[in-house]
């Protein structure tokens, strides 16, 4: 009978095996990323297409559930509540949009130019929740067959900037939110340029000179997106010893209840 190996050698052998498996797995993952990069996102686009369809299927099933017997009364109250919240959010957004348009109109009158009307766009349903991805991305139900193109601008129904298209599949597309976590974007508020840092969920933070004439409710526009409005200033913080004012920006749209977006070609 062969002598039993000491436990510490069995443990060392197991550790080596685990470490070897770990390194092997890391190499496989790196290889997959490399293949996806070389193939310009073929694997990624297939998965996004599947994910978008899965979200759409689940959404359609969930929407039919409230009509089942036993859920009707409670469901109708929930639906009414959601509709009222949606209406309230839309009203607030329309007020903000009115302010943005008024400010834009004054600027254009001063420059004696005529604003171009939006032409050519696609309405698309939002398939995934904004809280699903920590990267600030979401999927919409319009793709290449509907005329959606890469880098197209995505707006809320009231015309506020939401993001841009970063990936297009046949029937779905992926949108990256303007204020995605970690994203930086140049903005203008009342002719004061500043750099905004995305915080996700339609929120952003920026800093402006302390003496800048900014206040709550000021409209934030983005020069790189044809100076479209992207949000409102909801809070300003200035420390007595600081030379800057910290601004907290928020998209006036309730992203949790947003069901449709507008893709501008």
């Amino acid at each position: 009978m062969q002598p039993r190996r000491p436990s510490f050698t069995r443990s060392a052998t197991r550790d080596t095996s685990v470490a070897r498996n770990f390194v092997f797995l890391a190499l496989i993952v790196a290889g997959i990323f490399l293949v996806d990069h070389v193939s310009q996102g073929v694997m990624r686009s297939s998965l996004k297409e599947f994910g978008g369809l899965a979200s759409a299927t689940v959404a359609s099933v969930v929407n039919t559930l409230p009509s089942a017997h036993g859920f009707a009364t409670r469901a109708s109250i929930i639906e009414e509540n959601k509709a009222l919240q949606d209406a309230l959010a839309r009203r607030a957004e329309e007020d903000a949009r009115f302010e943005a348009l008024r400010a834009e109109n004054e600027t254009l009158r001063a420059l004696a130019k005529v604003a171009a009307a939006e032409t050519g766009g696609v309405s698309a349903s939002v398939l995934s929740s904004f809280s699903t991805s920590p990267y600030g991305t979401f999927v919409i139900g319009a793709g290449a067959r509907h005329g959606v193109q890469l880098d197209a601008t995505v707006l809320t129904p009231s015309g506020f900037l939401l993001g841009k298209i970063i990936a297009v599949q046949d029937r779905t597309a992926t949108v990256e939110a303007l204020f995605a976590p970690g994203k930086e974007i140049e903005a203008v508020i009342n002719d004061v340029p500043l750099l905004l840092h995305g915080r996700g969920g339609g929120n952003a933070r920026g800093e402006a000179p302390r003496d800048a004439a900014l206040k709550k409710g000021d409209v934030v526009t983005i020069p790189s997106f044809a100076r479209r409005p992207a949000g409102l200033v909801v809070e300003l913080n200035v420390a007595s010893s600081s030379a800057v004012t910290t601004l907290f920006i928020r998209t006036p749209t309730n992203l949790d209840t947003l069901r449709f977006v507008y893709v501008v070609q």
Partner: protein
């Protein structure tokens, strides 16, 4: 490598949550899997998560495949903990 019913259910829930549930559901199920098992399956699930939601792969903060890196971190962190403190060395790997 053992595949109990609990592990299969957690792994399926983790995989489905990539597409349908908030990201923290995926994180919690991956965490639960790593606490109890040497759950290598969270790596392909995390890879699918990054392929699905990551805007673009880059070395900047916003372009890192955080889900994949987190999956590897969970496997590394919980390997010694699982063996010695959380579940005991006598339980199957």
């Amino acid at each position: 490598m053992s595949f109990s019913k609990v592990r299969i259910v957690l792994a399926l829930l983790c995989a489905v949550s990539v597409f349908l549930f908030p990201w923290w559901v995926t994180l919690i199920t991956a965490f639960a899997l790593c606490v109890r098992y040497r759950a290598w399956e969270i790596v392909p699930i995390a890879l699918a998560f990054d392929f699905m939601w990551l805007p673009s792969l880059s070395l900047s903060w916003g372009g890192l495949p955080l889900a994949t890196l987190t999956a590897f971190a969970l496997l590394i962190i919980f390997e010694p903990l699982r063996r010695e403190l959380l579940t005991g060395s006598a339980l199957p790997r």
